[in-house]
Symmetry: C2
Subunit: 289 residues, 2 copies
């Protein structure tokens, strides 16, 4: 599979790998269009809403943000390494105070994982570089740390109070609690973002519990959590939604919107079947030419 040629078959291969490995994943464009439509019913608009994102530092994650920014305006960026919303309670409160009057907020969060041109999960081909590299790098390093500690190859790192690398230290230590789950999984590289999502979802839940009251009046909090899936150039980026809830400013569930969002995968699949038929037609006409 020489994806460097950017053949339609190569692109379809990566897309198939994404769909088979992360069933229910939506193309980023499908996602942002669907989210816009679903939230419009609940009074969201670009003028009346603010977007917060908690996605990893990695530059490959800006594309999803850009799509969401078209719908909801410039993003308040809560994310740190691996996507953890490390800027925390204070950042959520600040963001809430930036919501346009009588408006609401949407918070998009989660870890990310690459799928490279040869279908390897946990790597991605990067702009201007040969081969593919770790994606998410922070998560892969933490996973390696957990494996080494569990095998006895290294001992647990002593706690560090130096802030210049505290995020990675904390992620590694925290991921140790998921060591069994990662080890027992059929494919640790696929399980890794799912484990990180659970951990980040809990982190975000605690932030929202503490700071939801900072949203004024009837303002809502839409929480969209999932796994961002990065792909090589020429293939759409994907996002696997795992949670999509609308809360009030007491943190109470107003509406669970996940099924609505998941419904859009069927429309997307129909489009992909049509694309594949187009590809087959192209191949046949090339053969016949």
């Amino acid at each position: 599979m020489n994806f460097a040629k950017k053949t339609t078959e190569g692109q379809a291969f990566v897309a198939n790998t994404v769909n088979n490995t992360f069933p229910g994943a939506l193309k980023s464009e499908t996602l942002s269009n669907a989210v816009e439509r679903i939230l419009a019913v609940h009074g969201y608009s670009k003028e009346k809403s603010i977007l917060a994102t908690a996605l990893c530092c990695d530059e490959v994650n800006r594309e999803l943000e850009d799509g969401l920014r078209e719908k909801f305006g410039s993003n308040f960026s809560m994310g740190g390494l691996a996507g953890f919303p490390f800027s925390g309670v204070t950042s959520f409160g600040a963001m809430a105070h930036h919501i346009p009057t009588d408006g609401s907020c949407i918070v998009v969060y989660g870890p990310h994982v690459g799928v490279d041109m040869t279908g390897v999960v946990g790597k991605v081909n990067r702009r201007g570089r040969d081969g593919s590299g770790a994606c998410c790098g922070s998560a892969c390093a933490a996973h390696a740390y957990v494996q080494q500690v569990r095998s006895g190859e290294r001992s647990e790192a002593a706690p560090s109070y130096d802030n210049i690398d505290a995020q990675q230290m904390w992620i590694q230590k925290t991921l140790l609690d998921y060591g069994d789950r990662l080890e027992k999984a059929d494919d640790g590289a696929v399980e890794l973002p799912h484990a990180l999502f659970d951990c980040q979802d809990n982190f975000m839940k605690r932030i929202v519990e503490k700071a939801c009251g900072e949203v004024a009046g009837e303002g809502k909090i839409a929480l969209l959590g999932g796994i961002q899936i990065n792909t090589p150039d020429g293939v759409a980026e994907y996002f696997l939604p795992k949670k999509f809830q609308l809360l009030n400013n007491k943190g109470e569930l107003v509406s669970d919107l996940l099924a609505d969002l998941q419904g859009h995968v069927h429309a997307q699949n129909s489009d992909e079947v049509l694309d594949k038929v187009d590809n087959v037609c192209e191949i046949i006409s090339n053969v016949c030419a």
Copy 2:
């Protein structure tokens, strides 16, 4: 001064306040154009470079990033609350591994401060909201904490090991060391971003010392540090450059580029004089009409 009318006088008033309060500040557009030209001499191009930013979470800071992204591509985001590069050594190393082959990186970092439509420093008018609000909110909260601890109004917060608000706790504790300097300043709100810059510059220096070797071969590290100045809609965003250095991957200074960059303020000032003459002409012609 009713800036809400977005009069040219109102806009000029805010721009004047920025220029008088932060002499040497460049419009974001002037900055990104100048940085592109200066770094091109050292082999930087969009294809061969990666951009990292360590700017505050606040959504008003995306505009500067967008301008830089046009020149250098999608940004690796190292920033947390108040702009501190909290994602640290691991994030710098990851970013270095994403540099296009034989390329270099540029790291743009610093705190931010608003100037609102009435000329108040430390506030800004926000999209869809009446009045103006704290900017940078995290920095203002930390400043208030320092003032309260020093006056005896509150005691120092006990160290917290809960990560859901660790960044703000750390910023507040760290800013205590700058309490004298802030108290003695003519205007604490103006001194605040300068103090934060010094603190962040030291933070970044320690990260680069530890991780510069991750940049491959002849790759360079351009460090552009300063204070980002946010303004109301209709007025350019500004950036006061305080450091612009080119380092090799041993962390050694290759070239100090700050004077080159500062030179661009003269060209900008000439443009502003021309704009003001245009405004005067417009006012005269309105009066005469």
